[in-house]
């Protein structure tokens, strides 16, 4: 389905990432935003609130993030594309209902404009340290999808993509932006509505009395209905069977029939399977110069723009460096990393934290190559020289190390020491 022209603010803008995200949500047909103000995400909620009456969308500022995300789930079940926008501390509060959203297979989008540091941290500065939280933050087993934009333009594009993925897989989708992307003002082109492809929610079409909210076909994603349509829905955060009724036996095992999809006992397994099985469809990567690469820089979000520069510097010197940018961070591109690890000297992973996605790269490399982390504590982005140095060292390194090595930035090296040969965490 094409986007509704009434929702799309077609034009060329000079706006920040927060606003671009809000416009992306509107273009995707988002009709409900439950939010709570938190720096550096507020401009997004403001932009949405400002435009909401024109497109018949609703913005409500709830009393806290716990309530904001709860209202988003409620609105989603009422049939609306829904989202919330927040930053670190608010994101932490939302974990509770992210779990409910995953367990009840509720489609919605959460934007996290990441800030630097733990707890209140530095609200007006950047960071990428919520990446693991986005996967593991709520209790129990579940899978989510997370995307990482690197610019206001991608803020717009990926928000539309996030809604499409949420609707297709009935899953919470995280847009893991950061303060740089949120506050950076750049050119954003919003295309004509006819150029924006939207995923429509797959509604159940069978007999009303036969509807089971979690009965799925081979796609592993059950069709949905909405509250008010007379299905007498019963949706619970208790582990449930395909009819949505709680299962009280202690074995949370699926009961598969020959087709491998019917689930008369726990549906829990499907919460992870529907994402894992479809991961090739979900995962999007940007790859450059990987064919001849000895060293591959892995990065995502804002820091990939800095990494591109370092890669350029290295290539100009004749170093064989490639770039692997994660558009989809979760699910993680395990197979691609494993495949590349077999034939290169090392991965250089740059992220604005002290090591999160690098451990995923390490896990998927199966010890076949060196893994170098170029960390950054947040507040700003890396100096491209540091990434360049790490690339160069990796390209010339003869020894094979086990585990993740840290290539400390020049600034931190002066305080904490550290070199490539120094094992991470020592």
């Amino acid at each position: 389905m094409k986007a509704d022209p009434r929702d799309v603010l077609t034009g060329t803008y000079y706006i920040d990432g927060d606003i671009a995200i809000a416009y992306g949500a509107l273009a995707a047909g988002c009709k409900f935003l439950g939010g709570y103000p938190i720096t550096p995400s507020t401009a997004a909620a403001e932009a949405f609130a400002r435009k909401a009456p024109q497109v018949g969308a609703r913005f409500i500022q709830i009393e806290d993030e716990l309530g904001a995300i709860a209202s988003v789930l409620g609105a989603s079940w009422a049939g609306q594309k829904s989202m919330t926008i927040t930053s670190g501390p608010g994101y932490s509060l939302m974990m509770e209902n992210i779990g409910l959203g995953a367990a009840t297979e509720t489609p919605f989008v959460i934007v996290n404009i990441q800030r630097g540091g733990p707890s209140t941290g530095v609200p007006t500065s950047t960071g990428q340290a919520d990446m693991m939280q986005s996967k593991w933050g709520s209790n129990g087993d579940y899978e989510v999808i997370a995307l990482a934009p690197d610019s206001p333009q991608e803020g717009f594009d990926f928000t539309v993509k996030a809604f499409n993925l949420a609707e297709r897989y009935r899953v919470p989708v995280m847009l893991m932006a950061d303060e740089c992307v949120g506050h950076m003002t750049e050119k954003v082109v919003i295309p004509d509505a006819s150029e924006i492809e939207l995923e429509t929610r797959r509604f159940y079409k069978g007999k009303k009395e036969e509807y089971k909210p979690f009965k799925r076909d081979k796609s592993l994603v059950p069709p949905m209905v909405k509250a008010g349509d007379g299905y007498k829905l019963y949706i619970t955060g208790l582990s449930h069977d395909e009819s949505g009724h709680p299962i009280l036996d202690k074995k949370l095992l699926p009961d598969l029939d020959k087709a491998g999809v019917t689930n008369k006992k726990s549906t829990n397994r499907f919460l992870v399977e529907k994402i894992r099985k479809n991961r090739d469809e979900i995962i999007e990567l940007r790859e450059e110069n990987l064919e001849d690469a000895d060293v591959i820089v892995v990065s995502y979000g804002i820091i990939s723009r800095v990494a591109y520069r370092a890669v350029d510097m290295a290539r100009r010197e004749g170093l064989k460096v490639g770039m692997l940018r994660l558009i989809t961070v979760w699910p993680f591109p395990e197979d691609r990393i494993a495949e590349l690890a077999k034939r290169i000297k090392g991965f250089v992973v740059t992220e604005i934290n002290y090591g999160q996605i690098v451990f995923e790269v390490d896990r998927c490399s199966h010890g076949k190559t060196n893994i170098i982390l170029v960390p950054h504590g947040g507040g700003s982005v890396h100096d491209p020289d540091d990434i360049y140095d790490a690339i160069k060292k990796t390209a010339t390194e003869k020894k094979r190390y086990q585990g993740v090595l840290e290539y400390t930035t020049s600034l931190e090296r002066s305080v904490f020491g550290g070199s490539m040969a120094e094992k991470y965490g020592k």
């Binding site: 009422a78 509250a227 299905y231």
Partner: protein
């Protein structure tokens, strides 16, 4: 004479998920009374069942959503009202009711109660107050009267309990009433009134927990507790809510305390959206 198929049916059958019966509540529990009163009230208001939605939090009363045969959501602890706010805004034609316990609504969900009442959003909240966290095995609650024993106040509760009707009134609820599980007819009528009242309405139902509250305090079974309500409830309509605190085994003031008018969230939103549709007049850029 043999009963016909129709007579064998439970009178609330079309309002209950019969495939989920028997329910999980203990003998003597008062939640069933609240559910009966609610179901009866739903019948009385003759509202389209397809457009009724029940949202619950967590706990014994949180399980109500699983037995009422309307669209129903059993959400996270305390978040029922916020979830319901989303449902209501997502589909404004729906009549949304939150049924949950005292701990869920006044402790972990207290903030949502306050702000939903402040907004005067069109929700009816039915709070079953049994003075204790029962699902988890009888721990002290914000509603537990002073001196009452619970598993986490083993020497008697020394904290002052919350007066939920007073909180609801102060926050802005337009309808506030309290009944006990004994006062079925009055409770039902009150829920009907609350459902018909535009804006945020709140009905507290004092209910026996015959398993934990009663046992730890040696109050007998559910019937004994109902007898206590019979002997010690005083109906005082319009009583200032500051006078309706509940002491341990003391008089329980019941009745309709508040019935007033304030602009509702929906009305205000509607006029606001009409005014701002063009995005030109007013507003900041």
């Amino acid at each position: 004479m043999k009963a016909s198929e129709e007579e064998k049916k439970h009178p609330m059958e079309n309002l209950l998920r019969m495939d989920r019966i028997p329910h999980i509540w203990c003998p003597g529990c008062g939640i069933g009374n609240a559910v009966s009163a609610f179901a009866e009230a739903i019948k009385k208001i003759e509202y389209d069942l397809d457009e009724i939605c029940v949202v619950s939090g967590i706990g014994c009363t949180g399980r109500v959503a699983g037995y009422i045969k309307t669209d129903s959501f059993h959400t996270t602890h305390g978040r029922g009202i916020a979830y319901a706010t989303g449902v209501k805004l997502g589909n404004p034609k729906m009549k949304v009711i939150v049924i949950s316990g005292d701990g869920d609504l006044s402790a972990i969900g207290g903030n949502h109660l306050v702000h939903a009442a402040r907004r005067n959003i069109d929700l009816t909240v039915i709070c079953v107050n049994n003075f204790i966290y029962a699902m988890t095995g009888g721990q002290v609650a914000p509603t537990t009267p002073r001196t009452a024993f619970t598993t986490t106040s083993p020497f008697g509760n020394f904290e002052s309990p919350i007066n939920i009707p007073r909180l609801a009134e102060a926050a802005g609820a337009v309808y506030v009433a309290r009944w006990t599980a004994l006062h079925m007819r009055r409770l039902t009528d009150s829920i009907v009134e609350a459902l018909n009242k535009p804006g945020f309405s709140f009905v507290e139902v004092i209910a026996p927990c015959a398993m934990y509250y009663s046992r730890t305090n040696r109050l007998g079974d559910g019937l004994n507790m109902m007898k206590f309500y019979y002997d010690n409830s005083v109906i005082k309509h319009g009583e200032p809510t500051e006078n309706v605190d509940i002491g341990f085994q003391e008089e329980i003031v019941i009745g309709k305390f508040i019935d007033r008018e304030r602009p509702t969230f929906s009305e205000s939103l509607k006029s606001w959206q009409q005014e701002n549709k063009t995005g030109k007049q007013g507003g900041i850029d």
